[in-house]
Assembly symmetry: none
Homo-oligomer: 206 residues x 4
Amino acid sequence: MKDNSKEEFTTRQHRGAKRRAKTRADLLAAARKVFAKKGYHDTSILDITEAADVGVGTFYLHFRDKDEAFNTLIDEVFHILEEQVIAEVRSHEAITLSVTVQSIFRHAYAQRDLFSIALASGAQVSRTIRVEDTIARGLIRVFEQASRPADLQDYDIPLLACLVTGVIAQGIIWWFDQDEPGPDEMAEKVLALLAHGLPASLFTLT
Amino acid sequence: MKDNSKEEFTTRQHRGAKRRAKTRADLLAAARKVFAKKGYHDTSILDITEAADVGVGTFYLHFRDKDEAFNTLIDEVFHILEEQVIAEVRSHEAITLSVTVQSIFRHAYAQRDLFSIALASGAQVSRTIRVEDTIARGLIRVFEQASRPADLQDYDIPLLACLVTGVIAQGIIWWFDQDEPGPDEMAEKVLALLAHGLPASLFTLT
Amino acid sequence: MKDNSKEEFTTRQHRGAKRRAKTRADLLAAARKVFAKKGYHDTSILDITEAADVGVGTFYLHFRDKDEAFNTLIDEVFHILEEQVIAEVRSHEAITLSVTVQSIFRHAYAQRDLFSIALASGAQVSRTIRVEDTIARGLIRVFEQASRPADLQDYDIPLLACLVTGVIAQGIIWWFDQDEPGPDEMAEKVLALLAHGLPASLFTLT
Amino acid sequence: MKDNSKEEFTTRQHRGAKRRAKTRADLLAAARKVFAKKGYHDTSILDITEAADVGVGTFYLHFRDKDEAFNTLIDEVFHILEEQVIAEVRSHEAITLSVTVQSIFRHAYAQRDLFSIALASGAQVSRTIRVEDTIARGLIRVFEQASRPADLQDYDIPLLACLVTGVIAQGIIWWFDQDEPGPDEMAEKVLALLAHGLPASLFTLT
DNA sequence: TATGAATGAGGTTTCATTCAT
DNA sequence: GATGAATGAAACCTCATTCAT
């Protein structure tokens, strides 16, 4: 009997927690959809709760404000991005920029909606984690673990990471408008640019 | 007498026009200052009119809404950018990417406040003209007028322009945070990256 | 066996009742603490249930709303006040105002927190029993049982009770701010004022 | 022409100011009415603006929040009370408690609605000026300027003022419930109590 | 009986926009 | 053309209350 009541108790606790988690997930999914459609600033709490089919107040049971929901969303995805890219890169013998960039583009493609929101929100939202920083951080790691560090002696690594991030971010924005090419072609083009640069004839007078 | 009054009239007209133009300029200058300080979304019309020391209603005599004022501001600056870059490039014998990028960075540096607003606002503002587009357009022109067009045969020119724009935009954002290096070093680093790419050892397995 | 189960049943019932009473007491104690700290209006049900360490819903198993909890609290204390003052007064040979006022001040001093809430809440709470009424009622009883009723012939007794209550209430509020003097000095000062009034020179022209 | 335009200008300014003042007065009058009817806490901004027949936003053009409006109201009335009582007292040859108390009761009677709100709000509202303090301050002044100061040597003047205030406040609350007697009778009864105290037989055992 | 997640009415507050002067 | 008081839609957020577990 004692055991029984205990079991009931934990079950009860568990049910509550499960329901709570479900609602939270619904809210995040709804937020993602609405943010993608209307952008951060034109999205109201009501928009989100209606999309999630919950009461307004429920939102505040899970997030302090719009900012927190947004950050949670972004953090979650970029945490996954980071982990996934790291995993994918590890599965190869050595860390190469090629694999990293490919991995980023693939992941970004799969999560286009969130990436475009995150990039579009730019410096607008008081966010703890910026997309660009996540990407740049990953790139820095690649640079630091380069097989021949001497090759990078003359480069300012953080700046380099930032510039390369610019190319990647722009690629993702490009997708948001154009809906082509696929992630692998995109990665390929970016990598081609990064590997060989542009034709010398563009830089010098005839 | 008729002439006299006519003259007076035109003078008065002229005065009115000058006064109007002055108010408008005040508003734009104020908008620029406030946007730079508080960002697009946190700036209210009242913020602008107070900074310009005019009545709220006056704003609406010159602009339909905040968006229009913002776009006017951006357009103006980018129009100047475009003209200036074109002029500077023309003063050289041939259009080269080096000169173009240098010119862009110099101009951007001189107008850092507006550039950072424009870049930070990202896709937030329902704007017809995006900074990135202005830059990309300029780059496309450079690519099209390349001295040896055959060199670019294998490139997707618009995408290329977009990616290069990403590098430039990121460079400007870098400034907004770091306040170093100067425009010419920045252009140099970007050009180095664009000209030679990164060391091959980053791309391949050992 | 029947008896046994019955016994068990009643025991269980009893346990339940005791548990229930405990919860209720916890809630009242918590309410008292929170009301004293934050005031009636700034106290939410959640504040109370958290302080009592019970679920929100539990509150509603014991009280209809905040008002009822508040009234219960107040009623309880004033019921005790009434009983105690009556008992103390009875222990003397005759009812005198001195003993009554002293008794009230002593009791109020012992329960300062609740008295200050009750007085501060003023007419804010839709309450059936006002502190002032409880005191006034006690005073009326004293007046009615006066040893020489003729002495009070010219007085409007309810109004008199009300005015004297005003003095007492103000004395308690004074404590809340000043934290001095003790209950007996306070009673003494009030009684001195009530017994002899103020110097005649204050009322007339020289 | 210059004069003309100047005149026009000041007139225009003046009109605006007049309109503004009118609206503000409307809001205060409405607030007074609603506060008196529903009490401080049950009054919403909307209640006030609807009663004043202005838009919601207009309220915030004149007051920061409900508190400020309330305080303005109270301050205004008590400022008038103070001035009026002072004036009335001055018109007599010497300051006496009789005149002061009479004056307070008369004024309170004329402004019953506000007094009852102010007294009922008790310590609820974060107010800079409490009614009781205003009255007590006035009484202290009377005591200090007593014709024969020696008579008050044995009294704690601030406490005394506070206690007397209690009597007056209670008198006003009495009116709010009972609607009788008039101000002068009320003052008379209070003064009688204050002058002679209660019959000695109430205090001692037979 | 106790719980606490969910609800949504209702309050506060802001601000783009209008319009009489 | 310039002004700024007034407007009210629309956002935010809280909290008393319910109800399934």
